[in-house]
């Protein structure tokens, strides 16, 4: 990598690292189930930026894009399944507090 590419990658890696910190902080403090899924989305955005920036830095943008597209598709499926689980929990408890999930058996 040249000096210009290294600086660009450093900027994007810094942004991705800060977004990951924001996501982890919020994931550790929140107790709302919808917010937990939103925080997972934030984490995946940080990872995706890092993936695309790394692909650009080593001139393998095509491979990085293919991986990012796969990641986006899996993300949709994860969100839909998580939302289904959230609706089931809400119907059962009439609340979205994660502390209620401690009562789950199994």
């Amino acid at each position: 990598m040249g000096s210009q590419e290294t600086q660009l990658f450093l900027l994007f890696a810094l942004g991705a690292a800060l977004v990951l910190i924001v996501g982890f902080y919020s994931l550790l403090t929140t107790r709302n189930l919808i917010r937990v899924v939103i925080n997972m989305e934030i984490l995946s955005k940080g990872v995706m930026l890092l993936l695309i920036a790394a692909g650009n830095a080593v001139d393998r943008s095509a491979l990085a894009q293919a991986m990012a597209i796969t990641m986006i598709i899996i993300e949709v499926a994860v969100v839909v399944v998580a939302v289904g689980v959230i609706l089931c929990v809400y119907r059962h408890h009439r609340s979205l507090d994660t502390s209620l999930l401690r009562e789950i058996k199994g």
Binding site: V19, N56, Q65, I73, V83
Partner: protein, 163 residues
């Protein structure tokens, strides 16, 4: 590195912070959509336009719709509950901007070695070649997963009509 890159990365971090720090979950979902749109712009800047289009259409379009449908089915906050939630948010998240600033300063001050080259066989190829020639079996799986996601959205919309 240009000014627009710095502005976009800053907006991306601020968007993520807004998403986690707002009291209303609905506003969080909208802020998440805005963060996805900024990420799509970053992808365009990083020579990844096809991934950027996917990010813009799916993550800034479809996923917020799923979140907003779910919020509509579950959460209805009154004035008192919202005020209590705002107080709780302030108590939990006052340290987050400080943590982000501190982490940013530490990472900027640390000189990390960045001369790595990740392994991979597909350098210099087009993304369509990779998707259709090298990863076509994965692509079938992806189409099935996307179909399952779309089916889930249809069920959610039906639930919201029934509710």
């Amino acid at each position: 590195m240009t000014t627009i890159d710095v502005i976009l990365v800053t907006a991306f971090v601020l968007g993520a912070m807004t998403t986690v720090m707002t009291a209303r979950v609905l506003r969080s979902a909208v802020a998440l959509a805005a963060t996805s749109a900024i990420l799509a712009m970053l992808m365009f800047r990083l020579r990844s336009p096809i991934a950027g289009v996917f990010e813009l259409s799916v993550c800034a379009g479809l996923i917020p719709v799923i979140f907003i449908s779910t919020i509509g089915l579950t959460q209805r906050l009154g004035g008192e509950a919202l005020a209590a939630r705002r107080r709780e948010k302030l108590r939990l998240y006052w340290a987050l901007p400080l943590v982000v600033l501190l982490a940013g300063s530490v990472l900027l001050a640390t000189k990390l070695p960045l001369d790595f080259i990740p392994p991979g066989p597909a350098g210099g190829q087009d993304v369509r070649q990779i998707l259709w020639n090298l990863r076509h079996i994965d692509l079938i799986g992806q189409i099935l997963v996307l179909g399952a996601g779309a089916f889930g959205v249809v069920i959610l919309v039906k639930e919201s009509k029934r509710g």
